[in-house]
């Protein structure tokens, strides 16, 4: 029986705020954050598992700035039983290794679980490495890129999307599953859910509270460092406006 489900989510800049300015650079609106699109599917999957099992519990864990707690609070209305935010200025600038380390430290404080769900990658940094690192650190099996999942006995049946097809897999709990974007649309909060959520607070954990030393956190704890950032107009080309005959010619060329 799947009784305790942990979901890792990240808040990322909203897609609409990622616009280009006149020099084809990104305008980043720091204030507008939303749940990462793949994490939405993971969260909904967790809520569905909870709905299917009496007394099941969904615990949501996020790492990010303190201001994200307001958005995370809304997850109570959707049916999350606990919402935990790991937030500490010391964690800023963490690469995927240091992020995984911090999340694992927090997960260890939360007790046993049957299943850890997360999005397959975040659309801001887009590394997709956290799921694998978490699974290795926690010593549990994992399936990434899950497109469909159902609980079965003491584990899951899941469908994994690969480049050349889909694999039907069976995995035993406890395990980690990383879910693809658009797998499940997130439910809307209900009136009853919102009433229940009114006096619930996001639990905020600091780095020290989960037992992390300063050396393990953020930039200092990272295994990679950015040494240079260049802006560039990605793939800018010189467009030749033409008629369909030129295009037809071009298509024929490639066909050869």
């Amino acid at each position: 029986m799947i009784k305790r489900i942990l979901v890792c989510v990240k808040l990322v800049p909203t897609a609409t705020s990622v616009e280009m300015d006149g020099q084809f650079r990104l305008k980043r609106d720091g204030t507008s954050l939303q749940l990462n699109i793949a994490d939405v599917s993971a969260l909904e999957a967790a809520l569905r598992l909870k709905a299917a099992t009496p007394d099941a519990e969904v615990v949501v864990l996020s790492m990010g700035p303190a201001k994200t707690s307001q958005t995370l609070q809304e997850l109570y209305a959707l049916g999350a039983d606990r919402v935990i935010l790991l937030s500490d200025p010391a964690l800023a600038g963490a690469d995927s290794f240091a992020t995984a380390k911090a999340l694992v430290a927090a997960i260890r404080c939360l007790g046993d679980f049957d299943c850890l769900l997360c999005g397959r990658r975040a659309i801001d940094a887009e590394t997709g490495q956290i799921p694998g690192q978490l699974a290795a650190a926690l010593g549990i099996p994992a399936v990434t890129n899950v497109q469909q999942l159902t609980a079965r006995d003491n584990g899951f049946l899941c469908q994994r999307r690969l480049e050349n097809g889909t694999a039907q897999l069976e995995i035993a709990a406890p395990c980690l599953l990383s879910v693809c974007e658009y797998t499940y649309p997130l439910r809307l909060p209900g009136i009853m859910g919102k009433r229940r959520a009114r006096d619930k607070q996001v639990e905020v954990l600091t780095a020290v509270a989960v037992g992390l030393s300063a050396e393990e956190c953020g930039l200092r704890g990272s295994k990679t460092k950015v040494i240079r950032v260049d802006t560039r107009a990605p793939g800018l080309r010189k467009c030749r406006y033409c008629e369909t005959d030129v295009l037809a010619e071009k298509i024929r060329e490639v066909q050869l």
């Binding site: 990622v18 616009e19 990104l26 995927s96 290794f97 995984a100 659309i123 887009e126 590394t127 997709g128 490495q129 956290i130 799921p131 694998g132 290795a136 099996p141 994992a142 399936v143 990434t144 890129n145 999307r161 690969l162 480049e163 050349n164 097809g165 889909t166 897999l169 069976e170 995995i171 395990c175 990383s178 658009y182 990272s222 295994k223 990679t224 950015v226 040494i227 240079r228 950032v229 260049d230 802006t231 560039r232 107009a233 990605p234 793939g235 800018l236 010189k238 467009c239 030749r240 406006y241 008629e243 369909t244 030129v246 295009l247 037809a248 071009k250 298509i251 024929r252 490639v254 066909q255």
Partner: protein
């Protein structure tokens, strides 16, 4: 002193990356070793088990590279954790200094910023977008070792269903991609018809997928897949950064859009402003 450059290939080996690895090994004074996990990949569904089997192979590695296929993108982070090594995802450019320091370049924030990254740990690991590097002669002659271990299975493969499409989007020579401007699922059937006639495959922007015109598997871009075909025809796609991130590596880009101000034109080699349906009709006529 660790002195190997270890390239891990999967079921879909990236020969361009193999060529690049050979160059990097030379420049960085490292010995190239290529290991294919393909054998294991086919035998097991447990990525964690493959990662564990790779640990002893990595003992002398200074650099570990792998193509960023779905499975290797799951396996490499696990291996990186076991080796307590830094890992950079989805690099689009690699360089190495004579002392073996790997310079890893990857787009950040939807391709408009380019970050160059160094690894602090002793072992430097990176995955590379498939198809990023050209194949040079001799790449096939590099000896490939095969992982043979039979690891424990915690994940069981019940069935594998190959993609119905004859050519997966990522390997297509020609991609005809539609955006929200296509307006309907019926519009996409028309695009598919056109694509079929010119030997191409249909792709889509996120807006078109969100609108429900096409399944998610067709999505090109940051939250979809990255493609680099010889010819990319963007139809009714405005050219959001997220989309450009997935197709800017195409050899030739053609844009068809009714809005002359659509950003896609700035990322295209050829452009036609106008109603997509009549342009496609005309193209079909000219090509028939």
């Amino acid at each position: 002193m660790k002195q190997e450059l270890l390239l891990i290939q999967g079921t879909l080996p990236d020969m361009g990356l193999q060529s690049k690895a050979a160059q990097l090994a030379l420049k960085g004074h490292l010995t190239l070793r290529v290991i294919s996990g393909a054998n294991l990949e086919a035998a097991t569904a447990d990525d964690g088990a493959i990662a564990k089997a790779l640990i002893p192979q990595a003992q002398n590695a200074r650099v570990i590279l792998a193509p960023a296929t779905t499975r290797l993108r799951a396996i490499l982070p696990m291996l990186a954790w076991y080796l307590q090594a830094g890992l950079t995802a989805d690099c689009t450019h690699l360089d190495i200094s004579p002392d073996g320091t790997l310079l890893q370049t990857r787009p950040a924030f939807g391709n408009s910023l380019i970050a160059t990254i160094e690894t602090v740990s002793g072992i430097q690991m990176a995955t590379v977008r498939p198809g990023t590097f050209p194949v040079s002669e001799g790449a096939e002659q590099i000896p490939v070792e095969t992982l043979q271990e039979k690891p424990a299975q915690r994940v069981k493969l019940l069935e594998f269903v190959p993609l119905a499409d004859s050519v997966p989007l990522g390997e297509a020579k020609i991609i005809v991609a539609g955006g929200a401007g296509i307006g309907s699922s019926a519009g996409f059937l028309k695009l598919a018809d056109f694509a079929g006639r010119i030997g191409g495959v249909v792709g889509a922007s996120r807006n078109a997928v969100d609108a429900g015109y096409v399944p998610y598997s067709a999505q090109v871009g940051m939250t979809g897949i990255t493609v680099c075909p010889k010819l990319y025809i963007a139809v009714g796609i405005s050219g959001a950064v997220q989309h450009l991130a997935g197709m800017s590596g195409s050899t030739t880009v053609i844009a068809i859009n009714s809005d002359p101000k659509a950003p896609i034109f700035q990322y295209a080699d050829y452009g036609i402003v106008g109603d997509w349906e009549s342009i496609i009709d005309q193209l079909m006529e000219e090509l028939s």
